[in-house]
């Protein structure tokens, strides 16, 4: 169970959060992008053996959506969001 740094609440137990998936490329303009690129955007996500940037929702906390960089090999959080003060 991870200890996730929430910018508002500080480090909290993973059980308070809902996983929001890896951060994807910016959403292309669906009116200009090709079919292949659109499918790629919709279905392919980064799956690195190493740090991945991902969304977490502090659903049973302050409600913040935050992103962290987490190493998929060790689960170490290698980059945390800035704290709010």
């Amino acid at each position: 169970m991870l200890l996730i740094p929430c910018p508002f609440c500080g480090a909290r137990s993973e059980s308070e959060f809902i996983y929001g998936g890896p951060v994807r490329a910016a959403r292309p303009d669906p009116n200009v992008v090709s079919d292949a690129d659109w499918v790629d955007y919709l279905t392919v996500v980064p799956n690195p053996l190493g740090p991945v940037q991902e969304h977490w929702w502090h659903a049973r906390g302050c409600g913040e959506w935050l992103t962290i960089w987490r190493d998929t090999r060790t689960h170490d959080i290698v980059e945390a969001p800035d704290e709010i003060e």
Binding site: F8, C9, S13, S15, R60, G61, C62, E64
Partner: protein
């Protein structure tokens, strides 16, 4: 042997959900509310009203139920400007009090938070978990106060009862 605590299921409080930029809120309701807490997950109080800073640009104003109509009249949820959101949520929260020497032991069963006084001080208030449910947790005289979504009230009562081996008073 059972834990040395007193468990109470509390009645309704008047609660208003406040969202928006701090100064926008001050402009609209500043004089009717205590000063906005400036640190995350802390609270201020005054005039029977408590103000909990429980999220980014997010506060809860809480007062005895008797003050609900007065607050509603003052805060005017329907009339407030587009920049801020004020919603009456008094019925949404079901409050419990766990007090007594073993209160923190019972909380350790229910909640993952580190509630040690050096970490969770007298003015601390935050959303966390109670038996896996989203819950408001704060310190009160001699123990802790918690609130869950009203519809889960009965379940949390059952589980607090189970945890401290005694019924609420």
């Amino acid at each position: 042997m059972r834990y040395d605590v007193t468990l109470q299921r509390c009645g309704l409080s008047a609660v208003f959900d406040l969202k928006g930029a701090a100064d926008a809120l001050r402009n609209w309701a500043g004089d009717m509310l205590p000063p906005l807490p400036d640190h995350p997950n802390t609270r201020t109080g005054g005039g029977g009203v408590e103000l909990y800073h429980i999220g980014r640009k997010h506060w809860l104003a809480r007062a005895p139920l008797a003050q609900e109509e007065v607050l509603e009249a003052q805060l005017k949820p329907d009339a407030c400007p587009a920049e801020i959101s004020i919603v009456r949520v008094s019925d949404t929260l079901s409050f419990f009090r766990i007090t007594g020497p073993d209160a923190s032991q019972v909380m350790a069963i229910a909640c993952p938070l580190d509630l040690h006084e050096t970490v969770f001080g007298a003015d601390a208030v935050t959303y966390s978990e109670l038996f896996g449910l989203k819950a408001l947790v704060l310190r009160c005289e001699g123990g802790f106060e918690c609130a869950v979504e009203q519809s889960f009230g009965d379940m949390v009562e059952d589980y607090l009862t189970l945890s401290c081996r005694q019924k609420p008073v």
